[in-house]
């Protein structure tokens, strides 16, 4: 495992980059990243060892990995082969079985407190974690073991961040997001189902370049990618403000590319970078291809009713209605009660008057 001591600079030189180009790169990066001296960047890249990354997979569908390997800026080969030292990823690594598992122990011992633990998926806790067995042991044990000596944890995707589909009601395996299992380590949530490839490599690039974690928001997501909603940067926002909506999937408004708000678009409640970074190398994103956002980077997005309803279904007391339906029933009931009360009051009053009149006569 010599990779641990290799620096970025040596990797770059190995890839045929001249020292001149290297310094040009550092100057350019310094300009784009703000008040950073190019020499500081050059120095960091020349001296800092690459950050070792252990990538483990719990209860998941591998869509995060699928997304990750399609990163265009930076290319994932650069991220994996040059920027980080991806020491373990059982899905894409050549080694298998005991040979692979040995790496985990080695990394723990050699890079204690220095490696990044990237977790794709989450551990199911029911039945002692029996629903996800990895290397002959429940995944939750592997997660806890590797988290112990990690510098920080990256929770890839909606599974690791929030629970996603396997944690949707009634969650039979008790799938649990990482931050509910590991509570003593910094955790970066990179939600999405999957997260955008460039967001994933972007987070890794930040950590490897600056040797620290990016600034996180209240929910533990990197601010640089998750501080605004899809809605805030949506190219159809002008149609929303104007009041121009798609009402049916095949109407004229759909053809004209109007706002998908009424079709249940979750853009107004979804924090992600899709409307700026987009997908597949910036080609498109769901709203651009005419479908509303389903809010896949949000907590419990499977349990918020239909993807095609604007108002959330509320499933309590065996009903499945949205807020308006519940509200109108309540208001209707109270209205009827008031009307009935008025009627009874009037009748009573009449009766009382007659009684009084009888008394007086």
């Amino acid at each position: 495992m010599g990779a641990g001591t290799e620096t970025f600079y040596s990797v770059m030189r190995r890839q045929g980059i001249t020292r001149r180009s290297f310094h040009k790169f550092c100057s350019l990066t310094a300009t784009s990243l703000g008040p950073l001296a190019a020499s500081r960047i050059a120095n960091a890249l020349e001296t800092k060892p690459r950050v070792p990354v252990i990538w483990i997979h719990g209860l998941e569908c591998t869509c995060c990995s699928e997304s990750f390997i399609r990163s265009a800026h930076p290319l994932v080969k650069d991220a994996v082969l040059s920027m980080i030292s991806l020491d373990y990823d059982d899905t894409i690594m050549a080694a298998a079985g005991h040979q692979a598992e040995v790496i985990l122990e080695e990394t723990r011992a050699k890079h204690k407190g220095q490696y990044i633990l990237a977790v794709e998926g989450n551990p199911p806790l029911n039945e002692g974690g029996m629903f996800c067995i990895d290397g002959g042991k429940p995944f939750v044990e592997k997660l806890k073991m590797m988290a112990e000596d990690a510098m920080a944890i990256i929770a890839w995707g909606a599974c690791a961040s929030w629970g996603c589909v396997q944690a949707a009601k009634p969650n039979p395996t008790q799938a649990t997001p990482i931050d509910k299992v590991i509570t003593n380590k910094p955790i970066i949530k990179v939600p999405g189902c999957p997260p955008i490839a460039e967001v994933m490599t972007g987070v890794l690039t930040f950590i490897t370049t600056f040797g620290k974690l990016p600034e996180l928001d209240r929910q533990g997501r990197p601010k640089m990618f998750y501080s605004q909603r899809i809605h805030d940067k949506c190219y159809r926002r002008s149609h929303f403000d104007a009041g121009q909506f798609v009402e049916e999937w095949d109407d004229e408004a759909a053809r004209k590319g109007y706002c998908l708000y009424k079709m249940g678009c979750k853009g107004p409640t979804t924090y992600n970078a899709c409307s700026t970074v987009r997908w597949n190398g910036g080609v498109s994103f769901p709203i651009q291809s005419g479908h509303g956002c389903i809010g896949c980077s949000e907590d419990g997005f499977w349990d918020k009713g239909s993807f095609y309803d604007r108002l959330t279904s509320i499933k309590q007391f065996g009903i499945e209605k949205n807020a308006d339906q519940i509200g109108m029933v309540a208001a209707g009931a109270v209205g009827a009660a008031v009307a009935a009360h008025v009627a009874v009051t009037a009748v009573k009053r009449l009766a009382t008057k007659r009684e009084d009149a009888d008394h007086n006569s």
Binding site: D241, A242, G243, G295, D324, H341
Partner: protein, 247 residues
């Protein structure tokens, strides 16, 4: 004014000439008592107007009007509706705060809607009396200078608590557009620690609107009813501030 009224030592609750306020103090009846001070009345009507605007615009944000024709740059329908909603929300917040501040300096009726004297047995007895009266089991209304105990309970829950909830969730939702470095986020962003998916906050805010619709219905009905049935002025009191006892 209440301060000018000497509390009677013995309890004679059914005498019409005796007016009792919700905290149980007995007062010698007079044709009219000054109850609602000017700031209370101003806050009442400003809040009422804001709440109506907020309900209409809020509903239209959840269920927008049919699509308008023409270029996007020629129209700003949802934009104006949202503006009206946010503006009315800020007005409501300011006057709600003013009302809270007035509770500290105003007369003792101005504090009524901000608490329920849960520890007082007499209070709950009178709540029960009012409930029985609304169920047509009691005929005679008791005289109250301020709110009757049932009304006080309803005002505290239906107005103070619900509106506070709407203001807090409303500003939290507003902070989403203002950004995570805004003061709205710093003050109200904690709401998203309770409901991490803001879709839930939208749903609760929406349910809160319907709860207020129900409150407004009951509030207006009982105000009109009491005005007629209890022979005490209710509606005109919120304009003049005086409560008249008509017998």
């Amino acid at each position: 004014m209440i301060d000018a009224v000497a509390p009677a030592s013995d309890a004679r609750p059914d005498l019409a000439a005796i007016a009792a306020d919700a905290s149980g103090e007995r007062a010698v009846g007079r044709p009219s008592v000054y109850v609602y001070e000017a700031p209370v009345r101003i806050c009442h009507w400003v809040n009422a107007f804001s709440i109506v605007v907020l309900m209409v615009t809020g509903y239209l944000i959840g269920t927008p009007l049919p699509t308008v024709a023409g270029e996007a740059s020629d129209n700003f329908v949802v934009g104006y509706i949202r503006f009206a909603h946010f503006a009315a929300g800020q007005v409501l917040a300011v006057f709600f705060l003013t009302r809270i501040l007035w509770a500290f300096v105003g007369n003792h009726h101005s504090r009524q809607i901000f608490y329920i004297p849960v520890h007082r047995k007499q209070f709950w007895k009178e709540v029960l009396h009012e409930i029985r009266r609304y169920a047509f089991l009691e005929r005679e209304p008791k005289m109250h200078v301020g709110h009757n105990p049932l009304a006080q309970t309803a005002m505290f829950t239906g107005f103070t608590l619900f509106v506070a909830f709407m203001i807090v969730t409303g500003f939290a939702l507003y902070s989403e557009g203002q950004g995570i470095d805004s003061w709205q986020d710093k003050l109200f962003g904690w709401v998203f620690a309770i409901w991490p998916n803001s879709q839930d906050v939208h749903t609760w805010h929406h349910l809160g609107m319907w709860a207020l619709v129900v409150f407004v219905m009951v509030h207006i009905y009982t105000a009109i009813r009491e005005d007629i049935m209890s022979r005490q002025s209710i509606i005109s009191s919120m304009i003049s501030g005086e409560r008249q006892f008509r017998d």
